[in-house]
Amino acid sequence: MKKLFAKHNNWFFKAGFILTTVMVFIVLLGQVWTPYDPNAMDASVKAQGPTLRHLLGTDFFGRDILSRILEGAGATLQIAFFVVLIGAVLGTVIGALTGYFGGVVDEVLMRICDAITAFPSVLLALIAIAVIGPGRLNVIMVLGCVFIPSFARIVRAEFVRIKRLNYISLARLQGVGDFRIMLKHILPNTLPTLLPAISIGFNNAVLAEASMSFLGVGVSASEVSLGRMLSDSQNYILRGLPWYAVFVGLTIALLILGFSLLAEGLQQRR
C-alpha cells in the first residue's frame, strides 16, 4: 500500500482513493446498520424533504431514503464486484493466452473482440437480458461476459509487448516453462495497466447496472438497486419532488467519480 502511494503521488489518485474508500465504507456499513429499516413504512412522514430525522427525506410510503440508498448501493456494488471479477479474470486468461502464443486463434479472437467492443456495452447487455430475462444473477453473468473483451484486449497488448523483451528471452533460455513465464514474469508487469482498467471496470459496471435497472431490464422488480430506485424516483420529479432522484443520482455519480479518479491517478505515475 505504501509503495502504491509513493508511485502514484498525484492529486487524482489521492482524491479518488479517499472518495472510493469513504463511499465503499459507507456502503459496507449500510450492510450491517441503517438508520431505519429500509422497508419500514411510516405514514406520518410521507414524501418529505431532508429533515434531521430523515437526512435524505422519505418516499411516498414514508420509507427512509438514506436507508434505502444504502441497501440499494450495496446491491449495486455487489453486482459491480462480480461483474468486474468475471470480466477481469476471464479477460486476463484469454488475453494472456492469445497474446503469449499468438497464431490463428489469437487473430480470430481479437477480431471478435474488436467487433464486440465496437458496441456500447449497455446495449449488448440489454439485448442479452431480453433473451435470458432479468434478475440479479443474469445481470452479473451478462455484464461479466460483455466486459471480457475489453480486459482481454488490454492484457493481450501488454503480453505481446512484454514477451519480446530481453528478460523473457533470457528466462526462456534458462529453461523456464511457458506458464511459469506468463504467471511469474509477465503478469506482474501488466499490473500498471490492469489496475486502472479494473477501476474503470467498476466505473462502467455501476453505470451499466444503474442504466439497465433504470430501464426495467436489470435486476427484477422485487430487488433493490440504485438503478431501480432511480426509476422509482422519476415519478417524484414530475410531481415537483426532486430530492429523491437527486440523492440517488448523486450516490451513483459519487461512486463513479471515485472509481474514475482512481483510474486516472493510477494511470498517471509521477
Binding site: L123, L215, Q234, I252
Partner: protein, 311 residues
C-alpha cells in the same frame, strides 16, 4: 479508394454475421404462439397462428426470408399489435436520430474549442480549472446530468415542463427547446472526455520534432499549432468521436426514458418487456447498422487524415 471498399466489405460481412446471431438468439427465447394466445388456446388455433406468422418453417429459411425483406426495407409484423414494424418504428427512429445528432453536434461544438483553448494556455489558471472540471464532469453519468437539468430548468426555472414532450408538428420552437435538454445531457459528459483527450493529444504533438522544426522556421506557438500539430492531434479524437456517436445512441435510450421522449429506445424497452420479437430484432439491427456505419466513417476519416493508416 481501395481501402474504403475493403472496409465496406468487412462492414457488410460483420453485419451479416451479427444479424444471424441476433436472429437466432431471439428465436431461442421461446414460442411466441403460446405467449400471444395464452395457455387456453386450442391446438387448431395455435397451428393456424403458427402458419400465419410463418413459424412452421425451419430457422435458416425464416432467417433468409427475414433478411431478404429487411434489406428491401420491410421489417416484418409485430406479434403483439399485428401492424407492420415499419409503421411502429417510423417517426420514433427520426426522433432518436435527431436527439443523437443534436447531442453529437453539441459535443463537437463545445469540446474542440475547449480542448484547443486549454492546450494553448497550458498551465494557466483557466487550463487547470478546465482540467479539474473535465475530470469531474466526465465521470457524471448522462442520466444524472439529465436529472439535474430537469430539476434546475424544469422544476425550478420552469423553462420546460418535464415529461410533456412537444412534437415538431405542434410547435417547432418548443420542440427544439425541449430537445435541447436531453441533447445537453448526453453531450456534457462526452464533451468533457473529448476536451480532455484533445488537450493531451495536442500537448503530445507540440513536443514532437516536427513542431520544433516549425518553431525554428519562425512559426509561433499558435501558427505551429494551426498549421502542423492540430491535424495530427485530431487523429485519436476522430476514433473517440466515432465511439461517442455509437455510445450516444445507447445513452439516448436512457435519456428518452427520463424526458419521456417517444423515441426508438422506449419502443425497444417496451418491446423487450412485451416479448415482441420482430420489433426487438428490427431495432437491434438498426442500432447495429448505426454502430457499424459510424465506426466505418470514423476509420475512413482517420485514413483520409493520415495516409499511413491505409496499409
Amino acid at each position: 479508394m481501395k481501402f474504403v471498399l475493403k472496409k465496406l466489405a468487412t462492414l457488410l460481412i460483420t453485419l451479416l454475421i451479427l444479424s444471424f446471431l441476433a436472429y437466432a438468439a431471439f428465436e431461442m427465447v421461446g414460442d411466441p404462439v403460446g405467449m400471444i394466445l395464452g395457455t387456453n388456446a386450442t391446438p387448431e388455433a395455435e397451428a393456424a397462428l403458427r402458419e400465419e406468422l410463418g413459424l412452421n418453417r425451419s430457422l435458416p429459411v425464416r432467417y433468409f426470408d427475414w433478411l431478404f425483406h429487411f434489406v428491401k426495407g420491410d421489417m416484418g409484423t409485430s406479434y403483439i399489435y399485428r401492424i407492420s414494424v415499419n409503421e411502429m418504428i417510423g417517426e420514433k427512429l427520426g426522433l432518436t436520430v435527431i436527439l443523437t445528432l443534436f447531442g453529437f453536434g453539441l459535443t463537437l461544438l463545445m469540446s474542440i474549442p475547449l480542448g484547443v483553448y486549454s492546450a494553448r494556455r497550458e498551465g494557466s489558471f483557466a487550463d487547470r480549472a478546465l482540467t479539474v472540471s473535465n475530470q469531474i464532469v466526465m465521470a457524471i453519468p448522462a442520466f444524472f446530468v439529465a436529472i439535474l437539468l430537469t430539476v434546475i430548468f424544469g422544476v425550478l426555472l420552469r423553462l420546460f415542463t418535464p415529461g410533456s414532450f412537444v412534437s415538431f408538428n405542434e410547435s417547432p420552437g418548443r420542440f427544439f427547446l425541449y430537445m435541447l435538454f436531453p441533447a445537453l445531457s448526453v453531450a456534457i459528459p462526452r464533451t468533457a472526455m473529448a476536451a480532455k483527450m484533445l488537450r493531451s493529444s495536442i500537448l503530445g504533438e507540440m513536443q514532437k520534432d516536427y513542431v520544433r522544426t516549425a518553431f525554428s522556421r519562425g512559426h509561433n506557438r499558435r501558427s505551429a499549432l494551426r498549421a502542423h500539430a492540430l491535424k495530427n492531434a485530431l487523429l485519436p479524437i476522430v476514433a473517440f468521436l466515432a465511439t461517442t456517436a455509437a455510445e450516444m445512441l445507447a445513452g439516448c435510450i436512457v435519456i428518452e426514458q427520463i424526458f419521456s421522449l417517444p423515441g426508438i429506445g422506449r419502443l425497444l424497452i417496451a418491446s423487450i418487456n412485451n416479448r415482441d420479437i420482430p420489433v426487438v430484432e428490427a431495432i437491434v439491427m438498426i442500432l447495429a447498422v448505426w454502430v457499424m456505419v459510424v465506426h466505418f466513417f470514423g476509420e475512413v476519416i482517420s485514413e483520409a487524415l493520415d495516409p499511413r493508416l491505409r496499409s
